[in-house]
């Protein structure tokens, strides 16, 4: 039987512990094979890491089994969870020594007008005006934490790391960032700069 022919939710919930164990073992192998493909060529990932990621992913899949709605193949849904597990851990390792003070210092830096050069997008009048409005909005409309989170994201700091450092929940941090983006967008709109203007004028 191929992985796509298995009724995974039923097999993983099987009352027969031998059947359940076999399904778990097969799924662990499927996830590990997927991770091997996705993370191929990364110097920071060994076979032992793949085994750990697959095991951790299996536990997360079992924990969320009730959330599988059958709108995709089960293995695709499970692979997405495995990739999230692996990438979250790899990002965390890369940024593990960043402190809250360093993150908040980022927020203060971003409020400094010198952080964004007038001509960073180009020297013509429209682009300089966009940058000026953006810079004012960042300085005046955002909190230190919002600026810190935005700069952290621009520097590829993992979102989970930002959440952890700010001592908040994922949903609260996401709302904080969403509110920040909406505030900046509103300031641009008030200055007569629309999304279509940005796209047309700057080809972004």
């Amino acid at each position: 039987m191929t992985p796509n022919e298995i009724n995974w939710p039923a097999a993983l919930r099987a009352a027969d512990s031998a059947e359940q164990s076999a399904a778990m073992q097969t799924l662990r192998e499927v996830l590990q094979n997927g991770l091997r493909i996705a993370l191929h060529g990364r110097g920071d990932v060994s076979e032992a890491h793949l085994e750990d990621f697959a095991q951790e992913s299996l536990l997360r899949v079992l924990d969320r089994l009730d959330q599988f709605a059958g709108r995709s193949k089960f293995t695709t849904w499970a692979q997405a969870i495995a990739l999230n597990t692996a990438f979250t851990e790899l990002r965390r390792k890369r940024w593990h020594d960043v402190s809250l003070d360093a993150l908040l210092a980022n927020g203060d830096h971003l409020a400094d007008p010198a952080m964004i050069a007038d001509d960073v997008l180009g020297a013509d009048e429209d682009r300089v005006r966009l940058v000026t409005v953006l810079r004012q909005a960042i300085e005046q409309d955002l909190t230190t934490k919002q600026r810190a989170a935005i700069l952290g994201e621009l520097r590829e700091m993992p979102f989970d790391q930002i959440v952890e450092l700010l001592g908040t929940s994922r949903s609260a941090a996401y709302k904080m960032l969403h509110d920040a983006r909406r505030a900046l967008k509103q300031r641009l709109q008030e200055a007569g700069i629309t999304g279509a203007d940005i796209q047309n004028a700057f080809n972004l």
Partner: protein
């Protein structure tokens, strides 16, 4: 000078502006994206049209580099036939 060393690049400012262009009042978050990204990847691979939820996933992937990285990896796995 410290600030000059840390100045945002053209790409980084472009990322902010692009994020603002894509920002809407109602957006999906990363958890919602994770729940539906498998279906989104399969639908894209099959060349089928996106429903409202999957269109929301597409918008989130444009805004979120981490979810986008994971989606691209998932595509690799699906294309390999796993």
């Amino acid at each position: 000078m410290k600030t000059e060393d840390q100045r945002l690049s053209r790409e980084q400012v472009g990322s902010i502006v692009t994020m603002l262009r894509l920002t809407t009042d109602r957006e999906l978050n990363c958890s919602e994206c994770l729940q539906h990204v498998g279906e989104y990847a399969e639908t894209r691979l099959a060349g089928k049209p996106l429903d409202e939820i999957l269109a929301g996933i597409e918008q989130h992937l444009e805004l979120c580099p981490e979810c986008r990285e994971e989606f691209l990896a998932l595509q690799q796995i699906l294309k390999a036939g796993l």
